[in-house]
Each structure stands twice: as C-alpha cells, then as structure tokens.
Subunit: 200 residues, 2 copies
Amino acid sequence: MYPIITISREFGSGGHSIGKAVAEALGIPFYDSEIVNKAAEVSGYTKDFIEQHGENTSGLDQWLYGGAFAAGYVKSPQDEIFRVQSRIILDYAQQGPCVIVGRCADYILERRNVPSLNILIHADMEHRKARILERYGNNDVPVERRIRTKDKGRQAYYRYYTDRKWGNYMHYHLSLDSGFLGEETCVKMIVDLAKKMDAE
Amino acid sequence: MYPIITISREFGSGGHSIGKAVAEALGIPFYDSEIVNKAAEVSGYTKDFIEQHGENTSGLDQWLYGGAFAAGYVKSPQDEIFRVQSRIILDYAQQGPCVIVGRCADYILERRNVPSLNILIHADMEHRKARILERYGNNDVPVERRIRTKDKGRQAYYRYYTDRKWGNYMHYHLSLDSGFLGEETCVKMIVDLAKKMDAE
C-alpha cells in the first residue's frame, strides 16, 4: 500500500503543486484547502476565518487568545479549529493512502500512531519570490515580507500546537530543496519512494 | 557530469557507508578519512591529533583556543587543521566529481563558488544506537552519550567555522532519514539524482 504522505512546506516553495502532482501520479486523494472547506462545513466558521486561523498564528491571535483562553476558561476559536481540523485529518488518513499538506498533519498522525511518510519542501528566497510573483502577482507589501510573514505565522502555529520547532530535520523522512532540484524532480523522487514502499 | 556530493551526517546514521556506496556506484572518488591522512601528510600533525581536532570542538578546545588564539595573536592548531583540510577539499573538488563526507565541505565549497549537491543523513536515536553498537561495540560510556557527545562536537565545530547552524534544512538540497528509509534506499535516491543531474 502507498503511504500516507504529509507535506510541510515553506511559502512559495511549491509544496502544494508538488503534493498535488504526487497524489495524481499515485491516484490517491489530495487534501489542502479541502481541509478548510470541510472544517467550515463542520464548525460553522467561514472559510476565510479558518484560512486565517487554521494554520497561522499572528501576534494578534496570541494576544487575543492568550489570557482567558490559555487559562482554559474559554475555548479559543483557534483551538476549536485545530481540534476540528485534526479530526478531519485523522478521518482522511483512516480512509487510506493520501497526500495531506500542512496543518501539523505529521504531528497529528504521529500522536495517534498513524504511520506516515513526512516530507519537507523548501527553497531559497529567490526561487520563492519568483514563484509567488508568478502565481499571485505584486501587491502593496514587498514580496519578501509577504513570504516571511506567512512562514512566521505557520511556524508559530506549529510551535504552539506541537511544542516542537517547525523545520527541524529530525521530523521529516525526506527534505527537498525544490529551488535546486526543480519541482518535477521532487515529484519523481516522492512518487518513486511511495511506489517502493508499496512494493515492500 | 556528476555533481560533487557533500555528505553531512549525524553520528551513527550511516552517512559514511551511504556516501561510500554512492561513490562506488557512480565510479567517483570517496573522501572521508582520506582527508585526515592527507592532512597529516601535509601538516605534520599526527592522524590521531587531526581526527580529534579536525571535525570536533570540545569544551576543552574552546577553552584552550579561546583566548590568545581567538584574538589572532597565535594560530591555533585547530585553525591550522581547518585551513589545511579546506585546501585539501578544494583540491579534491577541482579534480572532478567526488563524494566528500563531513568537515564543513558544503560550506567550504560554497564559499569558493564550487557547485555541489549537499546532502544530510540523519536517523532516530534507536537506529543510531543499534548501528554504533554493531560497528564499534560497547565501551565504558553509554552508547547514547557517545552519540550525543560526538554530534555536539561536530556541531560546535561547524558553528565555529561556518557561523551557521549545523543541520539547518536550508543548507541541504536533500535530507534523508536513513533509519526510516534504509541505507539502500538512500543510496539509490542519491545515485538516481546524480545520474539525472549528469544527463541534464
């Protein structure tokens, strides 16, 4: 059987596209924004709200959710979204091999002893800037700042819910520099590996 | 042409064996302890001394080499070994594709704009303990402590000479968990990649 594949990625590294291409090549489901849609359905929060709070922690979040929420008096919306998303991820995983992008999926599955192949996709800033500009175009905020802000938010979120450092090599079975290797090579390496694991 | 391949590795992760097998499969030279032998020849220090100081920094080293040496009044033996090893590594790289293990080779080549494929090999503690016991057997020091001490020394050495953190995913094009993937799969992935780069 193919493994369940989790993909952690730097913003602009192409992790989404790589994961999608891997899922297509293997003929297994792919979950990224699908998790947001599902979480919106289940929780009653809007997709926008979930997108904002379901993988990012901003300074504002920390301030808003820091006091009464942290003390456990009230459940913060962010905690609720994490809980809902975790259940969705575990449900997906139970249905069989799939590719899941972001949202601490590596940690969530590990905690429940669900085996997964955990992959990190990263790239140097130049490649990421070019990619973001190509996909989303320019806006008022300089592209490098957009990238750093997004990464910081995701890393803080990961740290908050997993108590470990995002990007620590120890937590990934395979880390790929998509800027150096190219997206196609990354896809091929992951697909070949999944097929090898299937054959064993 | 095959790339020059540098391998950084955790102690006990099998980085040496993997690098050696890759070099054999590609028919290119492999340099690990060869660097020590060569450095002994060139510098006049004994192999033992170079092995102790050519990739490890201990607290004692830092204390010994911290004062007058750091201030530049006297060249520390460690600095001299670093300089000699750097020149050896650059010489090897100039002769063509090869595999070089450890000794900040990734950084040394990058600083001179010599392109290389930089790989990190790591594994969980259980796999590393088993591997070290199998290869070197038991001694007075508990195996986990031996592993941690060795890694710490190498990391401090890397930090000292490169001013960057050992193991930061950003500095590797490919990071592999040899405990999870198995040595054979690691070798195959690297060989396939080198062949692909050769064909491009």
